[in-house]
């Protein structure tokens, strides 16, 4: 893959080959995600050997970075963070860029605005106002609905655009992200596998962290102005019968007054996207000989990284489904939550959706909820 840098105002677009005396970079690691919060291109990091005292107007915070495969951009653009400047050629600069979809979530992000400075729960209005203020997206696609949902009059704090998108996504059972066309949109989880893993290549451990079989949503009913609870599923699932019942609370009073059907959809959506099954304890390290297309052709890892950001299901052959006694499947279909790949490497790391946090960074992220703030 090649790095291209564009100034924030769009007036200069320069290939990485023309930056610095060597025009080279190394250890380009790409991460894409599909899960809670912004999906798609998550992060890219690389190093660049540059002489002592080097400076370049495009190697500063705010530059748009594109990962190109020839003339084709892989995933959405990314925004460069202020680089870690090195001291010379044997101490290269370290640079990190985050996907443009993540600009609207987390602390000090972009907050919902109706163009006059007041908050809004209308997704289209919030996006258009952010675009007018310089958000580096190309726009929104047809899946972003118009009209407000929820009631800002009773909302008690400013909410980021990302949080609004996540809430709406939970109600309709979809995930949101900025895709390769640089448009934000909502997409459903894949239901059939794109890639197949050869039997014997991987093993998946399971854990019951965050295990829950019932989601209960507490909301302010718009019709009666009383607090009510919506829950999903209506009757015990096969997982509950096998592994036991646990309940998960999802307060939705922050949305203000919402109607019953939205509250029920919210409960259904949270259950479908993140609850109702055991979690996984390990990620998968695979080569292109173990990861095949449906036709048996070895996958190209650069394409796999891109596909995970757009929602990708992988069928792991030779592993018994936890619910074997209910389904009889000798394979497990997992939606991949994260792909991490170093450009040129022959191994890719795939983490299934629902990977229980086992290292410090993942635990911190799960507690602070950075992705969902």
């Amino acid at each position: 893959m090649e790095l291209w840098f564009t100034s924030l105002d769009g007036t200069q677009r320069v290939p990485g080959y023309l930056i610095g005396p060597y025009g080279s970079w190394g250890d380009l690691q790409v991460t894409t995600r599909w899960g809670s919060g912004a999906c798609g291109m998550y992060e890219a990091s690389w190093s660049m050997p540059l002489p002592a005292g080097f400076a370049h107007p495009l190697l500063r915070r705010g530059t748009i970075v594109e990962l190109m495969d020839g003339p084709y951009r892989v995933g959405s653009p990314l925004l460069l963070s202020e680089p870690g400047v090195g001291t010379g050629f044997d101490d290269p600069w370290t640079l990190t860029a985050t996907g443009v979809g993540r600009e609207v979530e987390g602390e000090s992000a972009w907050y919902c605005d109706d163009g006059t400075g007041q908050t809004t729960t209308d997704l289209q209005v919030a996006v258009d106002s952010a675009l007018a203020n310089g958000l580096p997206w190309a726009g929104r696609d047809a899946s972003v609905p118009s009209g407000a949902f929820g009631n800002t009059e009773y909302a008690d704090d400013l909410r980021t655009i990302g949080a609004l998108f996540t809430d709406y996504g939970n109600i309709v059972g979809k995930r949101w992200g900025v895709g390769g066309d640089n448009l934000v949109g909502f997409h459903s989880d894949p239901t059939s596998p794109t890639y197949h893993v050869t039997p014997g290549a991987v093993a998946l451990g399971s854990a019951d962290d965050d295990y829950a079989t019932v989601v209960k949503v507490r909301y302010l009913d718009a019709a009666t102005s009383t607090l009510k609870t919506a829950f999903a599923p209506a009757s015990p699932s096969a997982v509950e019968t096998r592994f036991g019942r646990r309940e998960y609370p999802a307060p939705a009073t922050k949305l203000g007054a919402i109607n019953t059907s939205d509250a029920q959809n919210l409960a259904d959506g949270i259950l479908a996207k993140s609850k109702g099954r055991l979690a996984w304890t390990n990620s998968l390290s695979l080569t292109s000989n173990e990861l095949l297309t449906a036709g048996g052709v070895p996958a190209s890892l650069s394409k796999v990284v891109e596909d995970v950001g757009n929602g990708c299901m992988v069928r792991l052959h030779g592993l018994f489904d936890d619910l074997l006694e209910f389904t009889g499947n000798t394979y497990i279909d997992v939606v991949i939550g994260e792909a991490k790949w170093t450009d040129g490497a022959s191994v890719i790391d795939l983490s299934p959706l629902g990977l229980a946090p086992r290292n410090l960074a993942a635990v911190v992220e799960s507690i602070t909820g950075i992705a969902a703030a």
């Binding site: 769009g10 610095g20 003339p71 080569t287 297309t293 052709v297 070895p298 022959s346």
Partner: protein, 584 residues
């Protein structure tokens, strides 16, 4: 042997090279992966790391002051951040050049040596892994295209043809087909291994200007069971005992299963012409080998440069000297007065899997709408995409990997936003002028099949706007090849003019002297006005895609499109690279 450090001759007074020079070797970088093998690992290696040269230099002199002066001259060379060590082995051996970095020089001080006015130094210096030849090789650009084609034999009869199967005489069979062919077959039940079928005839052809020998051929296997092909068959040609370098190999539209191989005849006449088809088969236990057959449909000589559709789209092979991979400078130029237009330069290695791979897709079109002749098209035709254009590509011509689908399209009415569906889904803005688009990536072929399979890959591209027509689609395998796309505009070519056309493109790799790749366009034939194009309006970039080309000996494949100019000259300038001893 003579050894020069920079321009300092260390084999001439006051220097002496002691015996025991260690030229080390390129250090292959391995990655070992157990994969799914029950035992052992696959050792992958895609690059080599620097070598470390070490040699001993003796300095003699009349007094210690002279010794110090000679040491200073040596250190001036070793301290250079980049330098060369040239070794001329003598005895008709070729000169080899090591590209070196800053060297470490150590004096082994010896009191007896001081008294004898003799000092001994050990020089240790890192160098690039592969030795290069002293001079660059420039492959002669293919001749400008003419229009003369002389058919040498349409295979109406077997007259004059002799056949060999693995060197033994075999009969030549004439078949009326269609197409009419002469063929030679091997005996039945061949054993596993490499087999060669030969067809030979003596022509009396004059090739002073018609340099391209074209042969349409096919191979077939019959009988046997439990056998498989280890690689695709390879056809080579010999003219009057001289091996003819291959120029191009393309499938023939309209004659399914046949390939057109084009060879260059350097001599001015051609008499005894011999075609050898080499097969490599394996036979499983309990199986029997097949009968193999080589069929030739047509032989002609021509001065028409090989092209796909028009000469704005060329597929060429270029000989790469040396035994190791090298980075070459690719020059694409036109002698006309206008810019090259959009230039697509795709380079890919020549392996048995890629012998018949051709990125241009109109040649594989099997169904669609009305095809119209179009002088502005690189394929020579345009066609509405509409409800579907179907392309059917044999698996043997689609080496597995990640492909980028690109297309050249325009609207026949007004600018429209068009949705394309099929192998990729994308939305593009199409204007009334032809533009090139990168549409999306996909892994092909859709099914894994063994070598020699008769399977085909079918792709149907549809468009929701009936005004959109396509000139050509391309599938570039970005796993095996590298693509460059630069817009050289179409106006009158002029030096240093950003908004004019540019009629030359020079693509250069990183080298030790210019340690980053360069991509420049220009006008003058002496390369004096090359510059990196930017574009006249803010944000308009003329370099659309840039992956540095790579050339692996003995032969590299080039696919070049120049949308505004026909018959562009393509040449490759490179240093041959070798392991340790240069052979030329």
């Amino acid at each position: 042997m003579r050894l020069l450090y920079g321009d300092l001759d260390l084999t001439d007074y006051p220097y002496l090279i002691e015996f025991g020079t260690d030229t080390d070797a390129p250090q292959n970088v391995y990655e070992t992966l157990a994969l799914l093998l029950q035992d052992g690992e696959v050792a992958l290696s895609s690059r080599a790391s620097n070598r470390t040269l070490q040699f001993n230099v003796l300095i003699e002199g009349a007094d210690l002051a002279e010794l110090a002066d000679a040491e200073a001259a040596l250190i001036l060379q070793s301290e250079r951040p980049m330098n060369t060590i040239t070794i001329d082995p003598g005895d008709f051996g070729a000169v080899g050049v090591y590209e070196t970095f800053r060297g470490q020089v150590t004096l082994a001080r010896d009191d007896n040596g001081e008294m004898a006015r003799l000092r001994r130094y050990t020089v240790t210096v890192q160098a690039l892994p592969f030795v290069r030849s002293a001079t660059e090789t420039v492959t002669a650009a293919l001749l400008a295209s003419g229009s003369t084609t002389t058919t040498l034999d349409t295979m109406g009869a077997a007259t004059g043809w002799t056949g060999l199967a693995d060197g033994a005489a075999a009969s030549v069979v004439n078949d009326t087909g269609p197409p009419t062919t002469n063929s030679v077959s091997s005996p039945a039940a061949l054993a596993a291994g490499v087999h060669t079928l030969t067809l030979q005839k003596a022509f009396a052809a004059t090739t002073t200007s018609t340099k391209y020998l074209t042969v349409d051929w096919a191979s077939a296997s019959s009988g046997g069971s439990g056998y498989f092909f280890n690689r695709q068959p390879i056809l080579t040609a010999t003219g009057d005992g001289v091996a003819l370098p291959p120029v191009s190999t393309i499938p023939i539209p309209g004659t399914a299963g046949y390939t057109r191989s084009i060879f260059k005849v350097a001599a001015s006449s051609l008499a005894v012409t011999r075609f050898d088809a080499s097969f490599d088969i394996g036979v499983r236990v309990g199986g029997t080998g097949p009968t193999l057959k080589l069929l030739i449909d047509n032989v002609s000589i021509s001065d028409v440069k090989p092209s796909l559709g028009t000469t704005r789209q060329q597929q060429l092979t270029v000989a790469v000297d040396g035994s190791a991979r090298t980075a070459g400078s690719l020059l694409i130029e036109s002698t006309g007065t206008v810019g090259l237009g959009d230039v697509l330069a795709y380079t890919f290695p020549s392996t048995p899997e890629t012998t018949t791979y051709s990125p241009a897709l109109r040649q594989f079109r099997t169904a669609g709408n009305t095809v119209n002749s179009d002088a502005g098209a690189v394929s020579g035709s345009n066609e509405v995409i509409g409800l579907g254009v179907t392309l059917t590509i044999p698996h043997g011509q689609l080496p597995p990997g990640n492909y980028l689908l690109m297309g050249r399209m325009k609207s026949t009415t007004t600018t429209v936003s068009a949705d394309l569906f099929g192998p990729v889904e994308t939305t593009i803005s199409v204007t009334t002028a032809y533009q090139v688009y990168a549409l999306g990536r996909l892994i092909l072929p859709g099914r894994d099949t063994p070598i020699g399979s008769a399977a085909t890959q079918s792709l149907t591209i549809t468009c929701n706007e009936s005004a959109v027509v396509y000139d050509e689609f391309w599938l570039f395998n970005l796993d095996i090849g590298r693509l460059v796309w630069v817009d050289c505009l179409t106006g009158t070519s002029a030096p240093f003019s950003e908004g004019a056309g540019q009629r030359r493109v020079a693509i250069e790799p990183a080298s030790v002297s210019t340690p980053r790749p360069t991509l420049r366009t220009g006008h003058a034939t002496d390369d004096s006005d090359l510059f990196t194009p930017r574009g006249t309006t803010p944000g308009s970039v003329r370099i659309r895609g840039w992956q540095t080309p790579q050339f692996t000996p003995p032969v590299a494949n080039l696919f070049v499109v120049t949308t505004n100019v026909g018959d562009a000259a393509v040449s490759l300038r490179h240093f041959a690279r070798w392991h340790t001893n240069a052979a030329s």
